[in-house]
Chain length 209, copies 2
DNA sequence: CCTACCGATCGGTAGG
DNA sequence: CCTACCGATCGGTAGG
């Protein structure tokens, strides 16, 4: 039965379990609120064993964050593809964005904590990694404005940032506050995003459909 | 020259200075990321002196938070008055809300951290303290919907929560990310809030003005 | 991946 | 408001 070689016989190795446990604890309690002992206890090893797999506590935080960035880089092509495809560009992009954060709400909490705890580092990361994505979406909005299909006074960059910020904050604080059901919050967020971007249909313009 | 009685001769007493310093540090670094030593150093006293004025570190956090709630309770009547006054109800309420958080961005950061760190306690507080305010504003929105002046498919409670959440998250992360200027972000937030609530003017309805 | 241990710092107390 | 001090826990290392 244990036919696999020893190196991969474990269902899930310590490194993988550490990342999974640390993601949850760092999202819930923050970096300073999470001790290596907490992580070790839930992983099921002794504290020094963690530091065999990661050189320091901060390296665990960095690895957790990078893992999230890798998930984002997997989702990003789908988002940008959605932005160039046919009709439902807007809903497709927003759906992918919603999926990314609702798939694992810890992503939203982790991101929010990083922004609060490490503003300079996150600012640099936004400028280098997120900016191109924001500009890409903002570019499509500008084209829509030139076609007369979108609100001409919308500020494309600020709009994209707001929709994203609102989504992250909503997902991060949702199950925590437990006030409104998440699907109801997200539905209203989508309605607000649409209503504040699309111009109401006039009788003249669109002919097809 | 030192004509004042000794009891109030200090420009600012230790308790007041502690609250001011702790507000900033707790907003910037969070509860677990701030030590009593950090606070004592900036206040300019020894650590045990803080614990003469406050029974514990958690009591300092609670006092800082309650001070913010008191500021909110000062602003709240102005907000609700704005909601019942004449024409510019919407802008007045939103202006007061914007003023509350931009007056001291640490309020937004503190609130966000509390929601992340103490979800259950904050959930209870929202339900007991914020709910009436949310319902009040949502009530005005419902009336507007019945008059046919506002988007009929808007979800009033979810709408109010989203505008507030977005404002808090935007102010909290603003100077930190340093991407868009705050006034530009806030301007777009107001535009989005208006455009997603008010129906575009039709030719028939309004006669006065 | 373990036991054993390190110096530093934590929140908090005693006692004046 | 201070000095002196407490036990507990922190991240991390030695060495096997």
């Amino acid at each position: 039965m244990p036919a696999q070689p020893a190196k991969q016989s474990k269902v899930e190795d310590v490194r993988t379990r550490t990342l999974r446990v640390a993601t949850r604890l760092l999202a819930e309690r923050g970096f300073e609120g999470t001790s290596l002992q907490d992580v070790a206890d839930e992983v099921g090893v002794r504290k020094p064993s963690l530091l065999h797999h990661f050189p320091s506590k901060d390296a665990i935080r960095a690895a957790v964050f990078e893992q999230m960035l890798q998930h984002w880089n997997v989702s990003l092509p789908r988002i940008l593809r959605a932005a160039t495809s046919g009709e439902d560009q807007f809903d497709s992009v927003l759906d992918e964005l919603i999926r990314f954060f609702t798939d694992d709400p810890d992503r939203a909490r982790l991101l929010l904590r990083e922004v609060l705890d490490r503003p300079r580092e996150m600012g640099a990361l936004v400028r280098s990694q997120m900016r191109p994505w924001i500009e890409s979406i903002a570019g499509y909005i500008r084209k829509g404005q030139e076609r007369g299909a979108l609100h001409p006074d919308a500020d494309p960059e600020a709009y994209v940032v707001h929709v994203t910020t609102n989504l992250i904050a909503t997902v991060a604080t949702q199950r925590l506050l437990g006030a409104l059901p998440l699907d109801r919050s997200v539905k209203e967020l989508v309605r607000m995003a649409r209503a504040s971007l699309f111009l109401p249909l006039k009788k003249e313009s669109t002919k097809k459909r």
